[in-house]
């Protein structure tokens, strides 16, 4: 019956743009918004592989999102690589970045790990910011070409397809022996060492996988906006998937994606209500996070327990 529900949701999602497109300009805008929701959902899910399942709080995940975005932008703009090839390169390049950064970060645990991810995130941000000749500095890279076939509806469908594929892949990973092992490490790192788990290797590998998925989402995001800019790597961008995971449920696979969509929706509503309000977006995010931390942590654990006893 779970499959039936999933199929229904999928049918709904596939038909969504066709329905929306009937509403003219407004409808097209919402197709665009929905596409962004899907992409940010993928980004949030990628973070949650290390945050929820691995118990590693990364404050620099946007680095890989940004690397993916710039990979697509640079390859298409400077090397005229076709879109699909550039998109395929995004997770690879992000994975390489995650391999290097992860090597350092997994040497540390807890707090120290978080500090280092933040620092490396800012380092990449700075490099992109400074390296004007290559990355365009704070101008970013504009005018990424768009293949003709990718109308808003088709691009939405492409993103949805990739999202579903990634979801299946992550599900496989989470339910595999590897997935069990990273949860084991999250539960009790010391004990894990004493049942013969090479903790660092698993955390490292998990970090790389999460980075690759983030890179893919970044690549999709660059093509959606048809530009890449330094904001994509900024530390505040790293906050979004954390929040999405918290709001949607850290211990489920699809929860963060739902959280991302909810947050995105909130942002749009805020924007519609008053243009100036969007200035305060970070304040809103911060307050939501504050409230969740202060008043709902046990609620989150509750969600976790339910998920845990049911399926994992």
């Amino acid at each position: 019956m779970n499959w039936i529900a999933a199929a229904l949701v999928l049918i709904l999602l596939v038909s969504l743009p066709f329905v929306l497109m009937k509403f003219g300009k407004i409808g097209e805008y919402w197709v665009w918004v929905s596409t962004e929701m899907i992409i940010m959902g993928l980004f949030a899910m990628s973070l949650n592989l290390i945050l929820g399942f691995g118990g590693m709080v990364s404050f620099g995940h946007a680095a890989f999102f940004g690397v993916g975005a710039y990979t697509v932008a640079l390859l298409m703009k400077k090397a005229s690589v076709p879109f699909y090839l550039a998109l395929a390169a995004a997770p690879l390049v992000a994975a390489i970045a995650a391999t290097i950064i992860g090597w350092f970060c997994v040497r540390l645990i807890g707090l120290y790990f978080s500090i280092l991810t933040l620092a490396f995130g800012q380092l990449l941000y700075m490099i992109v910011f400074q390296w004007y000749t290559f990355t365009g500095g704070d101008d970013g890279i504009h005018g990424i070409p768009r293949p003709e076939i990718l109308t808003p509806t088709n691009y939405y469908l492409l993103c949805l397809l990739i999202f579903v594929m990634c979801f299946m892949l992550m599900r496989m990973i989470v339910n595999s022996s590897f997935g069990l092992t990273i949860r084991t490490v999250r539960e009790n790192m010391e004990r894990s060492k004493f049942i013969g788990i090479n903790v660092r290797s698993y955390q490292w590998l998990n970090f790389i996988i999460a980075g690759a998925f983030a890179g893919l989402s970044g690549g999709l995001f660059a093509e959606l906006n048809r530009f890449a800019q330094t904001e994509f790597l900024h530390w505040s961008k790293s906050a979004e998937p954390i929040l999405a995971s918290l709001v949607g449920g850290m211990y489920s696979l699809v929860g963060p994606a739902i959280g991302a969509a909810v947050l995105m929706f909130l942002k749009i509503i805020l924007q519609q209500a008053h243009k100036a309000l969007i200035e305060t977006w970070a304040i809103v995010l911060g307050c939501i996070l504050l409230l969740v931390v202060l008043f709902a942590p046990s609620g989150l654990v509750g969600i976790y327990r339910k998920v845990f006893s049911k399926s994992e």
Binding site: N175, T181, E187, K193, I195, F308
Partner: protein, 251 residues
Amino acid sequence: MAKPVLEVVNLSKSFDGAQVFNDISYTVEEGELSSIIGPNGAGKTTMFNLITGHLVPDRGEVLFMGQDIVGKQPFEIVKLGMARAFQRTSIFPRMSVLENVVTTIITREHGNLNMFKAFRKRDKVYSEAYELLKSVELEGMAERQSGVLAHGNQKRLDIAIALALKPKLLLLDEPTAGMSPEERKQTVELVKNLWERLDLTMLFIEHDMDIVFGISQKVRVLCYKTLLAEGTPEQISANPQVIEAYLGEEV
């Protein structure tokens, strides 16, 4: 017998200049059920931490099955066949009792890097885990969340996790700590049972003298940074030095 499983040779360790061990040597032979005792603060748990690779000795060697293991990571030593259970129970609290054991078996089988095979489908692993839980009498709680179990049951689970590694040498750090007298008796029975059935070499740390003298074949006394005495329970309880240094204050 007579084949050494664990050899500790001239082991020394200090923290911040304060010496904990000075030049300790002993050998644990295959199939032995032996114990380490010593007053509080004698460094019994530190001894385990040195053997299992959690700490690195300043000087000396630790040989396991003839192989030097100083400087190896804990997980590497585990893979060579050494397992431990903890004084302060160490389990995976938010996993089910069964999963605690399953994850350990999967790790033992080196199969945990496989990202594409759902672990749940490995029936063999599950039936083995279930058998193991039976041997520590936890089979009735297999589906319960391990973190909510009573203390005594958590300790049993801790032992089950260690056993799931199919170790050659099993180190137990105060297996009866924090238990009621009734539970103690049961646990001692369990330990003895497991040892007889599984053809294990066991080394345990214990506080309770009745337990130590009741089941160990050999007792080692850690005191004043050195190995004060080593021998059968009868020899140890008759040793004047031990009585003065350790038993005297308790009896």
